[in-house]
């Protein structure tokens, strides 16, 4: 039982980061129907900015704040600089998805150019080796911090979306773009805020992941794909679904690794994607979009 709880706790900590990544993907998907393939690479770039600042002697909190802002600024610049011109040219939804893929490739190359492909270690204030005993299970400072970051991030997003006027505008825009425009909501501003918030969540997840893993230009690929899986599991248009999906995925993965096979631990996420899409394409908490000819 103690072993089970230990795996579950480790899984929850990893899952809270998947949830943050998934929240970013869902936030953009449900307001613009665009799947953001650049999400992982924006997060990687932000994390590297934090790394560069910390290595130059800035304090961690300053570096973290700047990294988050850089991530947000890049997303907003992409939205206004590329997506809106493309929409004016009549780009289809699929075209816009492919544009985010192009952006991802550009960022990938630039990161390799600036920081090289060798893995680095991000100096992080929370330690991985200092552990506490909570009843029958152990938890490291870093996992506790990660869990807290995931929960606080989700909570802040909930407050923003459900309790503020801006959140109301975001919900209205994702519900019906034309109606929101007619009612005088500046939808472009609102959507750019969505892109910025999504990137902030991504960069936060990236910094915490970099503390647990090594920092190299491709370190976000796996967590990004798992965030994707979590988003699909919970429902691509449901924010609570993203959190639930992330936590379930984290725990399931940790249990698979502990009890079944460590080799195929990472494959589980993709099996989940395929099974969920086959059985219930709208996800656990999502709802289906209807299409007309």
């Amino acid at each position: 039982m103690a072993r089970f709880l230990q795996y579950a706790l480790t899984g929850l900590s990893a899952g809270s980061l998947y949830a943050l990544v998934a929240l970013g993907i869902v936030l953009i998907y449900r307001s613009t129907r665009v799947l953001n393939f650049a999400h992982g690479d924006v997060a990687t770039l932000g994390t590297f900015v934090a790394f560069a600042l910390v290595s130059q002697g800035y304090s961690f909190s300053v570096a973290f704040a700047v990294a988050v802002l850089v991530g947000a600024a890049l997303s907003v610049a992409f939205y206004f600089g590329v997506l809106i011109p493309a929409q004016r040219q009549g780009a289809t939804l699929l075209g816009q998805v492919i544009l985010t893929l192009g952006l991802a490739l550009v960022f990938q190359g630039l990161i390799v150019y600036q920081w090289g492909a060798e893995p680095d270690r991000l100096p992080f204030p929370l330690s991985d080796s200092k552990t506490w005993k909570l009843g029958p299970v152990f938890i490291s400072q870093l996992s506790l911090g990660t869990l807290a970051a995931g929960l606080v991030g989700s909570l802040l997003l909930y407050l923003l979306v459900q309790k503020t006027r801006l959140g109301l505008a975001m919900r209205a825009t994702s519900e019906n773009l034309q109606a929101a425009q007619t009612l005088g909501i500046p939808t472009r501003m609102v959507l750019s805020v969505s892109w910025a918030v999504a990137s902030v969540l991504g960069v936060v997840a990236g910094v915490f992941l970099a503390a647990a893993l090594f920092l190299d230009p491709f370190f976000m690929l796996d967590p990004f794909l798992k965030g994707f899986a979590a988003a699909v599991l919970g429902g691509l248009n449901s924010l609570p679904g993203a959190v639930v999906g992330g936590l379930i995925l984290g725990v399931a993965e940790s249990l698979t690794g502990g009890y079944l096979t460590i080799q195929f631990k990472n494959t589980l996420a993709f099996v989940i994607i395929i099974v969920v899409l086959l059985v219930r394409p709208e996800g656990l908490l999502g709802h289906e979009f209807k299409e007309r000819v």
């Binding site: 780009a91 075209g95 390799v112 794909l225 899409l277 000819v293």
Partner: protein
């Protein structure tokens, strides 16, 4: 001007004698390539030929049928490993190649089943998941992938007194010509028209009597057959297989080639293959630039030239045909 007056005329491969002449000249230039190009260019040309085959297959799926797929590397790996295992058992080249295509095609049907219910971004995610899952299975299952040292493929024995590079080049060029002609015929047949109808609106296509299940699965099967053949040829070309070859970057490369070359265009597929082979060759000194160039090209193509290199070619041709008017 050259109006198409009958259906039979529309089906014709090349409409004017001049086109036949130019095609013949192009083929002659390609056949004579070993005479004037050095061996590094010959190797690159072989690589372009084999990539063009796979990209043509992807174009059938993405460009003509409109089913987006990011799982190419999975089909590629299935094709490559089936080919390598069969070749090691002593199966002749062409037979092993056909078997590699069939194995990938079968996997394509399996992936095609979810596509019956999924659209657009959802299908992209499902195929992406398939590609990564296949990669991880090969990476972790040593019986399939030949373990840590990888799997080596027996080399092709050259015939007719040609050197190995020239022989390989002629075989790959021949296969490319065959698959180009087959693809042209396929897309101008009723099957190709059904694919295009599904792309433009699947509900409308169904109402017009296109069997969605059959044709979507067929599109997946055909395109993965091409990709499996590509995988087999790639395995033969590399001579040594490691699972790392078939990661997500390879899927993205093939996808970039389809977009840059031109959606729904056979000659675009060949141009796209040239793009993804030649760009890394020219920028081999600064590898970081390659993804940047891929990404920027995608951005530029999608915003300014949605038909890709093939669209550019059509525009240039029209400009000269209509000159001095515009």
């Amino acid at each position: 001007m050259d109006l198409v007056e009958s259906y039979r005329e529309d089906l014709r491969f090349a409409r004017k004698p001049l086109t036949w002449l130019l095609l013949g000249a192009l083929l002659a230039t390609l056949l004579a390539l070993p005479g004037y190009a050095d061996s590094s260019w010959l190797v690159r040309a072989s690589l372009i030929c084999l990539y063009a085959i796979g990209i043509m297959g992807q174009n059938i799926l993405i460009g003509y049928t409109g089913q987006i797929s990011f799982g190419q590397a999975g089909f590629l790996a299935i094709g490559a490993y089936s080919f390598a295992h069969l070749k090691t058992l002593g199966v002749p080249f062409l037979l092993a190649l056909a078997a590699a295509g069939l194995a990938a095609g079968l996997a394509g049907v399996l992936v095609g089943f979810p596509s019956l219910r999924l659209k657009g971004p959802y299908l992209a995610i499902a195929t992406l998941g398939f590609g990564v899952a296949v990669y991880q299975i090969f990476a972790n299952w040593e019986l399939l992938s030949g373990g840590r040292s990888g799997l080596s493929v027996p080399k092709l024995q050259p015939a007719f007194g040609l050197s190995r590079e020239v022989y390989v080049y002629y075989i790959y060029l021949g296969l490319l010509v065959v698959s180009t002609v087959v693809t042209y015929n396929l897309i101008s047949s009723y099957v190709g028209r059904a694919f295009v109808a599904i792309r433009d609106s699947d509900i409308a296509a169904e109402v017009m009597g296109v069997n969605l299940t059959r044709y979507k699965l067929l599109a997946f099967a055909i395109s993965s057959f091409y990709t499996g053949v590509h995988g087999g040829l790639f395995a033969q070309f590399l001579g040594h297989l490691e699972p790392q070859t078939f990661n997500i970057a390879e899927s993205l490369t093939l996808f970039v080639a389809v977009i840059v070359g031109g959606l729904a265009s056979v000659e675009g597929s060949i141009l796209g293959a040239m793009f993804v082979i030649l760009v890394p060759t020219f920028f081999s000194a600064s590898r970081w630039l390659v993804p940047v160039l891929y990404g920027l090209t995608i951005l530029v193509v999608l915003v300014f030239q949605p038909l890709g290199l093939a669209g550019l070619w059509i525009k240039t041709r029209l400009y000269f045909q209509l000159w001095p008017f515009r």
